[in-house]
């Protein structure tokens, strides 16, 4: 931890906060309870934020929630679409996070390898 890194924090936070404004097509919810954090949910979230920014996707909102009860499947990422459809991804790592952004969020194609359960229709 050094001070230069911290100074970059301001710029970066500014860009990520800007991601929250306006109407969004997708809402990404990262489970950030104790088990999620211990399994690496925080880094999954920052990887997704970076990737979203890198690809210039602007119709996505990324947020966090508490423990959701899928302790053995953490880190868990849920994607909620504007039409109410929900997809849950389990055991997401940094690579998986990038895949979810590049496939699901950018092209609308689900990453079936990481998805759990059946697709819930609204």
């Amino acid at each position: 931890m050094n001070l230069d890194e911290l100074k970059k924090l301001k710029e970066k936070a500014q860009r990520h906060v800007a991601l929250r404004e306006g109407n969004k097509k997708y809402r990404v919810v990262v489970s950030m309870g104790t088990s999620g954090i211990a399994a690496g949910a925080r880094d999954v979230m920052t990887t997704m934020l970076d990737e979203i920014e890198k690809r210039g996707i602007d119709d996505v909102e990324v947020t966090i929630t508490g423990e959701i009860g899928l302790v053995d499947a953490e880190p868990v990422v849920r994607i909620e679409e504007a039409n109410g459809e929900k997809t849950t991804y389990a055991n997401v790592n940094a690579e998986g996070a990038r895949q979810i952004v590049s496939q699901h969020l950018e092209t609308g194609k689900k990453v079936e390898m990481l998805a759990v359960g059946k697709v819930k229709e609204a």
Binding site: L6, L49, V62, T63
Partner: protein, 154 residues
Amino acid sequence: MMEDISMHVMDIAMNSLAAGAQRLEIAVVESHRHDFLIVRVRDDGRGMDATTLTRVLDQRTTSKQSRKKNIGLGLAMLRQTCEMCGGNFHVRSAPGQGTSVTASMQLSHVDRPPLGDLNSTILALCAANNKVDVQLKYRTDKEAFQFSSRELHQ
């Protein structure tokens, strides 16, 4: 088990958000001269009464009503880390008065986890909430740094 201190901070901060905090202050003081590391997470959430306070320090307690089996290890794990590293752990809280969690450790202790990526913790907290003012105060023997997410919205 949490890998580093920044993850503990994330965990404690999530409690604050769940308590409906509007202001979340994370203070980190790293002193080589006095050989300590202090981390304090303070919020203005709904706070806890004395009974809840004694219970949360016990392992396997959660404030969630919906859980049948009580789990909830966050504070207990941080306390264990502090005590393992020659430090102290305090929680001060009262209903309506917010909560303040203070964790101290011996900086040079061989078991002390690294501080970790505190930036990611702050970024994740800021990105996920635009209503909560997330503040970071970081101080070492020589330098000091302050950050507030409120500034970003101006």
